[in-house]
Amino acid sequence: MDPPQVYLNNAATSWPKPPGVIAAVNEALRLPFSEAGRSAGGLSSDCVADTRGTVARYLHAPDPNHVIFCANATDALNILIQGFAKKEGKPFHVITTQTDHNSVIRPLRTLEAEGRCRVTVVPCTGSHVEPAAVAGAIRPDTRLAVISHGSNVLGSVQDIAAIGRLLQERGIFFIADGAQTAGLVPLDLRNLPVDAFVFTGHKYLFGFPGTGGFYLRDPARIAPTRQGGTGTDSKNPFQPGGMPEKFEAGTHNYPGLVSLAAGISFLEQTGADAVTRCIRKQTAIFLEEFLATDAIQVYNPSPELPVISFNIRGLGNDDAGFVLRKMYGIVTRTGLHCAPLIHERIDGGSGCVRISPSVLTPQDDCRHAAECIREVADRANSS
């Protein structure tokens, strides 16, 4: 398959990966993997421990052993949500928002259908969830809030510091879903008032699919939902309670974790300021074209993330995505982006086209793609 001319679907999975990521994985695959507890081989390199340290350093997580690896953000959210409900033991009230993804909505609605929780969805104002709206949704039995840090449709970033403070004051466990923000928004988990922060490796951290995890401040608040080999305490018939073993069962995705560490190294070398400048420039390039015509309806004209969702008037999003792919070689994503609640508000639930460059998308490609999309829109509205 030929590479796309312009790949604008990084909010789903980033491409290309930095050359250093591919080189690191190639190098790692040349040698046997070693992980403490699972190999009698030399431990000059333990890719799991090394990557745990890298993630902790990057997110400023106070304790590397509280960084838990799993398959992706959805997996992490399931472990946390199910584990919280198991630990809680009795039905409780939970808050989420209109911008949240099915990785949050579906586990919560499933718990609700089982009679284990009641869900309140907080609407957003414009593109943001107001902390006051979250405060207004709190009830005496509210025990949990699961809130998307960055919207994968609107590209907005929620003020999880303000939201976290008000939740913390009321003793409500707060899970922030950072699937869209890790790698784009500077994070300092030493000071951020969240109880758990979820990340995925395959988006803006530039790792491979199949990597992700969460940081958990107080492991006592979550019951483990999986049991199995940990490479430690093997005579114990139950899951060990120490960290990170409490939440990690089975052999890790070693090549994936190597890619994740290399992706983070790339970001550290690039620098957070350079990433921010780049994505601001990229979104400006697209918005300059899109906002100059009535033929394109943009759903958030001031995104904080490099995510722009739109529809072309007179052309369905299915058709628009098809035309851009087949006639211009531009890869977008169309439909509901696994976030149906926000689409109900912005486009009546019919979906839209989303573009999402990364720091590795050349600005010339962004300019070319923006002009092509504008051309399609203008042609569709001039006939």
């Binding site: 299915d318 006639m327 211009y328 509901l336 982006h337 979906g351």
Partner: protein, 111 residues
């Protein structure tokens, strides 16, 4: 490839089909690789199936078809890919119908 009513394999101008995941409203997206280019004649063969439009304002003409309530399809004229979005409940009856109509494009008998 579907069998005809007589039980014989029917020759249709579809070389391969692929069911694709999508993040839409529960519809099933399938892509058909045709044995030849999708032409205006191919488009006319599909006319009985729904409301056809030929979007000529694009760099290449685009065929679209909408069949209410939610089924649609599209192809670039001159290329050999047809994309179809099905309602899951319609797939068992709609897909053989598409095969049958496309058979007309290469002059195959319709059973």
């Amino acid at each position: 490839m579907p069998r005809s009513a007589s039980g014989r394999w029917r020759t249709v101008p579809i070389a391969a089909e692929q069911c694709l995941k999508n993040c839409a409203d529960g519809r099933i997206k399938k892509e058909y690789l045709l044995t030849g280019p999708f032409t205006q004649k191919t488009a006319s063969c599909l006319e009985p199936f729904g409301s056809v439009q030929l979007l000529t304002f694009l760099p290449k003409p685009l065929f679209t078809l909408v069949r209410l309530p939610k089924m649609n399809m599209r192809a670039v004229i001159g290329e050999n890919v047809l994309e179809v979005w099905y309602e899951p409940a319609d797939l068992p009856t709609a897909e053989p119908e598409i095969y049958r109509l496309l058979a007309k494009d290469v002059g195959q008998p319709e059973d």
